[in-house]
């Protein structure tokens, strides 16, 4: 068991290193932060001076080695534009983004559990058709568009939620729905198919023949088994939600990590973008690792595969 976990941790470290490397070279290949920092009429000497101050005039390999050695010591570096540690800048935004992610997860669960359950129990009924349609829509609608439509309807026309910003629960409603829509749609289908799988099992028929109420069967015998794949899918959605926050936060001007990173990307703030990608990959890899470990505990066969 320990060996299995250690091997998985080593694999995860390799994945994170790969991500860091790809991001480093992609960012450096795609534009120059110095020209964006200075006015268009800045002289070449001025550009050269700032480039050397930011140590961007060193050979790329040297920059890469410095970057990795700092990273190993837990230093994400200093943001090129903000002149503050990238970790500090990102850490300030974590609470807001986490709130949004939790909000989106809540939307996902509040939609997926009742709708998925209902459409499984009433298979091929009108409710099932509507639920399938809603799920399909949720998966197809682009986040960006959904956000703007929600602003138009609920903030501008009905004026029940604020247009943008953060700070209160009301600020979270529209962005949470926007961000959670895709996951809600995915989870609805998952809950439905998972429940249907279990409802087909013979022990359910046995329970029914024993005279248990339908509700008792669902709660005691079906839900725990059907929950397994649903929990997996939802926990993997956390990574999607964190990265999806980039678009949602831009539309709603929600001051989380996503909004910070979008501007860092456009400004080619290498260190800040790298820092974000590293944090995100650590979160995603950790969730995967955790899911793997939980699986191996629940099902010993996984360890030997």
């Amino acid at each position: 068991m320990t060996r299995f976990i250690l091997r998985r941790i080593a694999q995860s470290a390799l994945v994170i290193w790969g991500v860091c490397t790809i991001v480093f070279f992609l960012m450096h290949a795609s534009g120059d932060p110095v020209q964006l920092l200075l006015p268009t009429d800045a002289s070449d000497e001025e550009i050269a001076r700032v480039r050397s101050q930011l140590q961007l005039d060193r050979p790329l390999t040297e920059q890469y080695v410095n970057y990795l050695s700092r990273l190993i010591q837990g230093d994400l570096g200093q943001s090129l534009r903000h002149r503050r540690p990238a970790l500090e800048l990102l850490a300030e935004r974590v609470p807001a983004t986490l709130q949004l992610t939790v909000g989106a997860l809540l939307v996902c669960l509040l939609v997926a559990l009742p709708l998925g359950t209902l459409s499984a129990l009433k298979r091929d009924s009108t409710i099932d058709t509507i639920s399938s349609f809603v799920a399909l829509l949720g998966q197809c609608v682009p986040t960006f568009w959904l956000g703007i439509v929600l602003i138009m309807i609920f903030a501008v026309q009905l004026q029940v939620v604020p247009v943008m910003g953060a700070g209160t629960l009301a600020h979270l409603i529209a962005p949470s729905i926007t961000l959670g829509a895709y996951s809600a749609a995915l989870a609805t289908r998952m809950v439905r198919s998972s429940l249907l799988d279990v409802l087909d099992q013979e022990y359910v028929r046995t329970a029914r023949s024993k005279g248990l109420t339908e509700w008792a069967i669902i709660v005691r015998h079906v839900a725990p088994i059907a929950a397994m794949p649903v929990v997996t899918v939802i926990s993997l959605q956390i990574g999607y939600l964190l990265s999806g926050a980039i678009v949602t936060e831009t539309v709603f001007n929600y001051p989380g990590m996503g909004l910070l990173v979008v501007q860092a990307i456009f400004g080619r703030d290498f260190t800040l973008v790298q820092g974000f990608v590293i944090l995100l990959s650590i979160v995603i890899v950790s969730i995967n690792l955790l899911v793997d470990i939980i699986y191996s505990v629940l099902d010993p066969r996984v360890r030997f595969q």
């Binding site: 939620v161 247009v163 910070l260 456009f266």
Partner: protein
């Protein structure tokens, strides 16, 4: 199918109970939030505005772009200002004299208080310019002081500026936002990369900044000029254009910039709001690389100028909200020559010139552009390409992301990396011909796409001649030279579109893209 035996039914009571609980939970969630969604600052005498992006730093000497300047100009002030007609006027300097071609003295205005209670003196001016000129200061925008040699105190309220060479543009340079005056005590307290305390002399003082959410400024009661009529000014950065308009419509903000053409009708349909147009001095053009075929031949470049019907692009695509430019300058820039006429639209002449230049069957070329950086940028590039197709110049438009575009556009080292043809806009807050001339065409500075010894000589003359009338004549020759040499397809200057809530009045917007709400007032 509905009677499938595997489809169990949940009991009615259980289902009602369950869904009731969920609805109750949802209601609580929305109610709890509903109480707190009044727009911030809406209840007090506060005006809220949005100029797009947020500040990168609270340090006014760092280059933060036009949006940052438009927020910071309410807190900080430079020595010299510009009035509504863009004339240079005294601000923190009450007067100035040019002692000799290299030397200027500035008398500093008395009895001006900084927000921290200290009084402005020549010492603060010297400390400010010493900071900007210090090459070791991190990320300071030093463009404005490139010609400065030293700044010294003559007496406590008089400062002497000495330039390396005669600089006729010095006064304009001292009016731009990156030369605002900070207190000497604040500058002395800066350590390393740290930002200075945001203390200025402006009509509003810094109160609170929550990055990417809001920056609050309170009226400064001891302001030396016209005092603010509102108690508070709040800037809310909103990157996304449609969100900005939504915020204006709900009253979350009272004033927005960068309204897109398709949003104008939406704003005009709301009786509380209005759309305002302001000319912008930035010049839009299609650049051609005269060091590369097919644009080595001046006839080809002139042909392209005859081939584009600029007026129809202005009318049909930009809704008339632009004005043609005959050469590389716009009307608000010093050195503009109003007697110079633009190229006329003459596709037949264009075809003839192309044929004479050895392209009887036309030619193929790639034009690079950005998307979303300037108003309708990619669409205008496409329209130009469409016009050129009519004279058999087949243009393939390629869109690049801005950072990537900029890196290639002014690649000083690798000429191969530069473009053959590109759509771009040029303009800086100094509003002087030297900006474009030296920044783009001077072979000693850039001249990456076109340069010429005759033009270099004119540029050098314009940089050193301090007689305004003579400079104008020099630039008139330079503009005529550039029109004939046609290194650009000369297009237009556009108007900025602002969205304003009618309850506010007294704001100002100028062609150098500066926005001021210093004297704004508000009716409930």
């Amino acid at each position: 199918m509905a009677t499938n035996h595997r489809t169990p039914s949940i009991s009615r009571r259980a289902f009602l109970c369950n869904s009731g609980a969920i609805s109750l939970g949802l209601m609580t969630l929305s109610l709890a939030g509903g109480t707190a969604c009044a727009p911030q600052g809406g209840s007090t005498n506060a005006v809220t505005f949005s100029v797009g992006t947020d500040l990168i730093s609270s340090d006014p000497h760092r280059s933060g772009g036009q949006a940052a300047s438009n927020v910071q100009r309410h807190i900080f002030e430079p020595l010299i200002g510009r009035d509504a007609s863009l004339n240079l006027v005294p601000l923190l300097a009450k007067s100035w004299t040019q002692v000799d071609p290299h030397t200027w003295t500035f008398a500093i205005r008395e009895n001006i208080r900084f927000h921290d209670g200290t009084t402005l003196s020549g010492r603060d001016v010297k400390a400010t310019f010493d900071r900007i000129m210090d090459k070791n200061s991190p990320l300071i925008n030093r463009t404005a002081v490139s010609t400065l040699k030293s700044v010294d105190l003559v007496d406590p309220m008089t400062v002497r500026f000495v330039t390396i060479k005669p600089d006729p543009v010095l006064l304009s340079r001292l009016s731009i936002p990156s030369t605002v005056i900070l207190p000497a005590s604040v500058i002395a307290a800066i350590t390393g990369d740290a930002e200075p305390q945001p203390v200025g002399t402006g009509p509003f003082k810094y109160a609170e900044w929550v990055k990417d959410d809001h920056l609050t400024m309170d009226a400064f009661p001891d302001y030396w000029g016209t005092k603010a009529k509102v108690s508070r000014l709040i800037h809310r950065p909103i990157i996304e254009a449609s969100t900005r308009v939504a915020a204006l419509r709900t009253g979350t903000v009272d004033f927005i910039t960068n309204v897109e053409p398709q949003q104008i009708a939406e704003i005009e349909s709301d009786p509380k709001l209005e759309v305002e147009l302001v000319p912008n001095a930035r010049v839009y053009f299609v650049g051609m690389n005269t060091f590369r075929d097919p644009f080595r031949d001046v006839h080809v470049r002139q042909a392209l100028n005859y081939a584009v019907d600029v007026d129809s692009i202005i009318r049909d695509l930009i809704g008339g909200r632009a004005t043609r430019v005959p050469s590389v300058l716009s009307a608000e820039q010093f050195g503009f020559d109003p007697t110079l006429a633009p190229y006329k639209y003459d596709p037949e002449l264009a075809k003839k010139l192309l044929a004479d230049a050895g392209f009887p069957t036309g030619l193929d070329v790639t034009m690079h552009t950005v998307k979303g950086r300037y108003l309708l940028d990619a669409e205008i590039a496409q329209a130009v390409a469409g016009q050129l197709a009519k004279v058999d110049v087949r243009v393939n438009v390629e869109i690049l992301e801005y950072a990537n575009f900029l890196a290639r556009l002014f690649d000083a080292k690798n000429a191969e990396n530069r473009f053959t043809m590109f759509y771009f806009a040029y303009g800086t807050p100094i509003l002087d011909a030297d900006d474009t001339m030296a920044g783009y065409f001077d072979s000693r500075r850039r001249g990456l796409y076109y340069n010429d010894p005759e033009l270099d000589a004119l540029i050098a003359e314009g940089q050193s001649n301090v007689n305004a009338d003579e400079r104008k004549a020099v630039y008139a020759s330079a503009l005529a030279h550039l029109k004939d040499a046609a290194p650009w397809i000369f297009l237009f200057q556009m108007q900025d579109v602002l969205g304003v809530n009618k309850r506010i009045a007294g704001w100002s917007a100028r062609a150098d893209e500066s926005i001021s709400l210093a004297e704004v007032s508000m009716t409930s």
